[in-house]
Symmetry: C2
Subunit: 635 residues, 2 copies
Amino acid sequence: MKEAQIYELLSKYEIKHPKYKVFKIDERLEFDTFPCVLKIHTNKISHKTDVGGVETGIPNNRSLNAAKKRILTSLKKNGVVLDENDEFIVEEEIKGFEFFIGGIFDEIFEEVLLFGKGGVLIEIEKDICYIDTKADDEEIKKSIKKTKISKMFPAYRGKNFDMDLVVNEIKKFQRFFENEDIKEFDINPLIYCDNRLIAVDARIKPKKPLKKEFIPKTASLFENKNVAVIGATDKKEKVGYAIAKNALKSNSKIYFVNPRLKKLFNKKVYKTVEELPAIDTAVIAIPSGYVIETITKLIKKGCKNFIVISAGFKEAGNKKSEDILKEMAQKHNINIVGPNCLGIYNSNNNLNLTFAKSKIYKGNIGLISQSGAVLTALLDKASFYKIGFSHIVSMGNMSDFNFANAIQELNTQKSCEIIAIYAEGLQYGKEVLKAVRNSKKPVLLFKAGKSKEAKKAAFSHTGNIAGNYEMITSLLETAGAEIKSSTESLIFNPQFRNVKDITIITNAGGPGTILTDLIIKYKNLKKLDQNTVEKLNEILPPNWSKNNPVDIIGDATSKRYKKALKILSPISDLIFVIVTPQFMTDAENIAKTILNYKNTVAIMLGKDSFKKANKILEKNKKLYFTSLEEAAKIL
Amino acid sequence: MKEAQIYELLSKYEIKHPKYKVFKIDERLEFDTFPCVLKIHTNKISHKTDVGGVETGIPNNRSLNAAKKRILTSLKKNGVVLDENDEFIVEEEIKGFEFFIGGIFDEIFEEVLLFGKGGVLIEIEKDICYIDTKADDEEIKKSIKKTKISKMFPAYRGKNFDMDLVVNEIKKFQRFFENEDIKEFDINPLIYCDNRLIAVDARIKPKKPLKKEFIPKTASLFENKNVAVIGATDKKEKVGYAIAKNALKSNSKIYFVNPRLKKLFNKKVYKTVEELPAIDTAVIAIPSGYVIETITKLIKKGCKNFIVISAGFKEAGNKKSEDILKEMAQKHNINIVGPNCLGIYNSNNNLNLTFAKSKIYKGNIGLISQSGAVLTALLDKASFYKIGFSHIVSMGNMSDFNFANAIQELNTQKSCEIIAIYAEGLQYGKEVLKAVRNSKKPVLLFKAGKSKEAKKAAFSHTGNIAGNYEMITSLLETAGAEIKSSTESLIFNPQFRNVKDITIITNAGGPGTILTDLIIKYKNLKKLDQNTVEKLNEILPPNWSKNNPVDIIGDATSKRYKKALKILSPISDLIFVIVTPQFMTDAENIAKTILNYKNTVAIMLGKDSFKKANKILEKNKKLYFTSLEEAAKIL
């Protein structure tokens, strides 16, 4: 599409363009607004400036026709051969600040806008943000604020820049991109001038790719009154054994199915699925070849939820079977979790349908993980510190049940107060964004696969496209998710979310300084009021820091830690207690002291000298860290 | 200084400026090069554009005088009152790419240049690098490459940008800034046009602040044949006891001084320093009030090296005594380390003059720390893993002996192969840069005090100005230091410096992906050759990743880990072995297997299930981590 056509197309959406006139190649040029710009009007060249196809600052019609000659000479020199379809376009010259707006059709998120600083340096500067076409005013503003040039709003160096005006223009582009059959577009510059935004140079790639249809779930994954474990076994080395054993403790009715077994854990074992009474949930841990027929039989019996533990699907090159699973789920409006997953947990029924070895405590976190291994690692840490979950879903290959479903589903569950997600690749991006936007519960997200190299690794193991890290996390963040930088923070952060500000007690200034650097991104340091400072003056040596971080000086023993904690604990949200192995440091007693104060997290900065002290903390399941960086991750 | 004067000053250094002419306020303007620019020529306004004091693109003399009228009107409107000293300046209009160059006089580094992208958005974009005025061509290039716009070199969108030309111009500015009595300057834009750089707008703040004189050391701090411990004591709770005890094991001759003691550790104790035989080194651990007179007496006896452990100086508000220490050191050409420090260690003499509790192993790292606490924490970890040191210097308050001295000194020490520095604030920045530049040994540096809040914390505890983190680390990095992001990497990194590429063995894809993200900043992933892949094909399940990270699949037991290690260990520099607690994972056996392969670091991603396995690793002092982020820090 040539520029003039694009201008007209944009006009349909009330997007402004410069006054222009199109001429045949050999026509004499005549225009009435100066200065003006002359450009070759053709689809043959994408960067017209680079081949001398553009002349600017033309003051009159004589110069205009001289410019035409120069362009023709330059194009010839650059090997551009023109024909009768090519034209010239003359436009009024617009001067102002150069923004950029573009759109791409992303495999995950479909139509996504890119907005930011325009001009020739765009590829070097990359001062660009991502905006979903469904984003509202507030979300668009949040996106824009991710760019450096957003600091120009509301005014810069005496010139006004109206954010609302820009947001309003971006909304026109959202409609434009959604409604037109366009795969990509690119407007650079989009000029801010006289309180208007004017599209001055525009390119379009037509034909939108097909969109994948998303069918919302109506059955609830966590309706688990009658549960069958298909593949329950007495062979301890099989996952079917672990699941059966974990499931037993539930309040739900549990049924076992295995053709070669009569009894398991003193319970009857059904030979076939046909013999089962009515069930709502089935965990399937049988060889992959039998999965589809088993599900088919169970659908007939009215079963709605399938958790497919069995491996041997997409991850083993068997994509076809997985497509069948997806079709079945859509056709029968059922939930199929997995395949190749670790299972699910539902605290409402005290139902552990995973083969994880760790004890799962009841709590308020709804944990969704695309990696079974990351999940087991997190559960292992969580069980040690008795961190509890309302629900857990191991997503496996995500043939059917996906992140959007999971977020929606967890929103219907009262016991879930916070949603924590470990993601590698996404599907149905627009639906995920919608689910995040509509979520009444905070959504924490860790996204693996940042670097090119990591994406390669992720691809080979999950079969999911890892996508562009920056775009994915930006879009999710502006939609309302909180992006975490470590997997551990998914389970630790929920405990400390309500912490407003941090107190640091330390026997060494240096580590206090470093920790300040690390936490200040997430939380403020608590300001000590005069009263507190005076109280601390009484019990601390005169050269204490008089400030937070509270440096209680290198010769501090447990007694001084205790005195400081006594004053600071009642008025603090959370105290990081840093201990370094100094000459007078009685680490064991300090550890014991810390145990008495619930709102503390210990940071034991040593190893050899802290063996006993750390053992005390471990035994009492007190959260502690051995490095400052690790500790900061909980925020 | 007005623009025309600055242009002339710049000319002395062969820095180009546009052709210009200056006119009295009421003179009729006449110029001969068009288009041209008209500016008000006054010191009254710093941003002339903002008050309408500049007109550009003037095509002829008639327009020039019309522009003058417009400027006068606009200035009046903006409340600028002109007088007979004010003038107009007419300049030829230069068009091209707008760079920026400026200079500041920094408290730490004295004259520092700032170079980068110019134009009106400079304060928003901050695409700027720092260049020391002593930096050579190569260092200047390294600095420039830290900017985004450096990607324009050698050409961008058909236009040439010659890096050597820019470097050459920057060198002119180095000489200009060093030789002229200028505190600050600012040239924006510095226009790249027709293979020249032209300074188009220039401002200068005159009068350079006084520079602090740096007197190089001639005595070697590590000449420690005869060492006196002043304040040696039998009271175990005193640091004088710990130092005396640590010192005893040395090959140096050790003397104790304490007026109230006859014998200590079966050695004679001298009552006064006067009684001592000739010594070269004295460790001073006595109340601060006696330090200066003791040093004075020892100087008379020819003692060259003083390690002042005693606290109660700058950190306690007693700056005056510290100034005296500095003067004494400069006058007598001696080394005074501290005060308020932990001591020094010199492996050449097996001499531990610190009061650290940890055993110090002999090795190749020269460790310099501005925080005693960070030092003790690092030594505690190092002793556990038997990481060794050639020398250790606890810098304390740095009244005399500073980072520049320490780096120079360690360069004279054969046993030191790598220099690791923990720094909070710096002094004599130019000398530190010089020392880093000239260092024949790699210099690793961790700098605390990144955020505003942390700088406040650092200030209250070390009394050293923490400075601008970005500038300090940029300058040091371009001078040749390696900036580390955690204190632990100062002791772990030296062991892994020669590692070229990394192999990852994992029983879970997700963590392999995350670790890839974390390490790729520092090292490459090893590429597996066809032969290795085929060997692995034979021993791994068919769905292994066929790639590095080597995902040996969730059901891997110690046997599979062993087989993979057997193939990969001989051809790998360093292997991260990730273990997640999956259903089949026999963690203890895996731990035992890992012990057999020296070039491995274990990452045990769990807690509850790994208690025994981790104990095995601990007992064997095998380096292992419990989180991916921690593990990546060693690189």
